[in-house]
Amino acid sequence: MSRVPEAFEDGPAFIPYLAVGDPDYESSLEYVEALERGGADLIELGLPFSEPIAEGPTIQSAVVRSLEGGMTPTRFFEFVEELDVDVPLVCMTYYNLIYQYGDEPGPRPFVEKAAEVGIDGFVVPDLPAEEAGPLREACDEFDRDLVFIVAPTTRGERLERIMDQVSGYVYVQARLGVTGAQEDVSDQTGQSLDRLAQWDVPKAVGFGIKTGEHAANIVAGGADGIIVGSALVDIVAEGHENGDSAAEVADRLETKARELKDGALRGVEQRVPHPERQ
């Protein structure tokens, strides 16, 4: 059974993302564990792909560091097995890695292996609903969730097609573009949440969230969770550049995580009743 729903049980979910193996396998283990200590309700683990077309410069660099450190799908699964955290885990990667894994073509072997090591679901930025049939099937077979991203531009039929296939949570992309921390939070978010209101699946908002205040605003706006990647990867990158110890960096990650989690919690209190949403 996927443990993803647990993340949304007690109030807003704080969902951090890190690229696994950034900047190296061992540090990366410490960092992910630090996120849990900082209050993560679910962790997105990035399996690096050589052509990360949906990522901004921050995560691209993380991907390069991780690949240069020798990260592969096989090492990724070892990492997840070795990882000592208790929260649900979602694997974020690109479709070609899922498609190529194992002896038979198609996503089944990857999902089977992921389920075995304790991955609860998947986010695949370059897999639109139209092409997701085989992966959805494999997820069903192994009781995993398949998270889809909904963009500010996603409407009408497309939205319905996605919401038909989504499970676990829907990843609400806060603005157009690629991943990357921003100075402020887009007001496209509210509109997106409005459009999704009729579906009974947790809505986690990501893309650009950087501070506790952003987190509070987003949750106040109605989100069921916040997803934060680049703001955390920035901390890893900075530590790496400055030659800081993994423990120091892990501390900073934990602190940042707590700020974001606290922000999310604050956001609940700031919620104003909204006529169109129940």
Binding site: I53, L67, D126, L127
Partner: protein, 414 residues
């Protein structure tokens, strides 16, 4: 020519793109169907007129007297090197930039490898008065400075892409990222028959003017169809353009000539394939929005490709071409860097046409296999070689190319 509106060529093709791009892609699909397929608002009429007046079409189908003699068969050249800008690339760039105008877009982005697609797009954008930004790998920028300069001269911005190895693959990824941010106002002019549907079909349709003309010219000039058509394949746009109208002519053999680079072996450890022969050696996978044949390692990571010609230096290939290869309609072959350089010098000296290094691959294959190509062969001269002069000096001086002129006066570059 098969017109696929579902975006699939067998299992290949599709639309593997971030959700943020999907509305733009759907809008483009709609525009493709209306303007390109149905000639709404006379789009295709205007496109054809501009191809003629601005682009210089039709291009000749020229009998190559000396190659015909050398190989003892009729060798004809489809002269895409004479298209404005110096390559077939303008056929597509002009079509897409014009389409962007019809769609009411305000801005063009494009990727470029060798710089040929970038210069073609910059020219088309200047011609049609629409702002244009080109993404180009830092390494390619250094290899192809004259083309960078031409883009700037045409008023385009050139954005260096520093990620990874800094070549075409990275530039495409980066352009997709820009597009994902700016879809509402921007059209992404992709440079070959790659990417998500409808790009592969649309680019093929714009490029198919090559085989449309060549087929007609064949009938007029030698009263029949050629026995074989040769075209070099990078992404495959000139290949598909040269093949499209011959696909239904079963007697015409179609050869896609890929870059064999320095070797067909791959270095899995380093993730490097010293070639760009994705049709000949690649496996099924997903890259840049489409399922197709790719150079990838066991895990599915995309390999760094290699070719002496930057325009063929790409790890993927158009999905339709992958499909036609699986269907045995198109024959995938390849020649190595040395053979391409030799062919470059041969065509220059014997026919007075300096081909692009990309194009030279097709002539290298002709040289190696002419005996099996039938009585009448059409080779698509996809572009001219002016852009390659620096590379030719450098690469020729590294090797022992028997037919190269003495180039000692050019040691150290132009």
């Amino acid at each position: 020519m098969s017109t696929n509106t579902d975006g699939k060529f067998g299992d290949y093709g599709g639309q593997y793109v971030p959700e943020a791009l999907m509305p733009a892609i759907e809008e483009l699909e709609d525009a493709y169907e209306r303007y390109v397929l149905e000639n709404e608002d006379g789009f295709m009429d205007e496109f054809r007129r501009r191809l003629r007046d601005f682009g210089g079409r039709p291009t000749p189908l020229q009998r190559a007297d000396r190659l015909s003699e050398r190989y003892d068969r009729e060798v004809y050249l489809k002269r895409e090197d004479l298209v404005h800008g110096g390559a077939h690339k303008l056929n597509n760039a002009l079509g897409q930039v014009l389409l962007a105008k019809y769609m009411g877009k305000e801005r063009i982005v494009a990727e470029t490898g060798a710089g040929q697609h970038g210069t073609a797009t910059a020219m088309a954008a200047a011609h049609l008065d629409i702002p244009c930004e080109i993404y180009m790998g830092k390494r390619d920028i250094n290899r192809q400075r004259p083309n960078v300069f031409r883009m700037r001269i045409n008023g385009a911005e050139v954005n260096p892409v520093t990620v990874g190895r800094g070549t075409l693959k990275e530039a495409i990824s980066e352009t997709m990222r820009d597009w994902a941010t700016t879809v509402e106002t921007t059209h992404y002019v992709i440079g070959s028959v790659v990417g998500p549907h409808p790009f592969p079909s649309m680019v093929r349709d714009f490029q198919s003017v090559i085989s449309k003309e060549a087929r007609k010219q064949s009938r007029e000039q030698f009263g029949g169809l050629p026995d074989s058509v040769l075209a070099c394949a990078g992404g495959g746009s000139n290949t598909m353009g040269a093949f499209a109208n011959f696909v239904d002519d079963e007697g015409v053999d179609l050869y896609a000539v890929e870059a064999g680079g320095s070797s067909l072996d791959v270095d899995e450890e380093k993730g490097v394939a010293p070639n760009s022969a994705s049709l000949s050696t690649g496996g099924d996978g997903i890259l840049h929005g489409a399922r197709t044949k790719l150079l990838q390692d066991r895990d599915g990571q995309i390999m760094e490709s290699h070719s002496v010609s930057s325009g063929l230096d790409y790890a993927g290939v158009g999905p339709e071409l992958a499909y036609l290869v699986d269907e045995r309609r198109v024959i995938p072959v390849n020649v190595d860097d040395d053979a391409a350089l030799e062919a470059f010098h041969r065509l220059s000296q014997e026919e007075g046409i300096i081909p692009a290094l990309e194009t030279a691959h097709a002539f290298a294959y002709l040289h190696e296999e002419y005996e099996n190509l039938g009585e009448t062969v059409v080779v698509n001269v996809s572009g001219r070689g002016d852009k390659d002069l620096e590379s030719v000096i450098e690469e020729t001086s590294k090797r022992n190319i028997p037919n190269a002129p003495d180039m000692s006066m050019f040691q150290g570059g132009l």
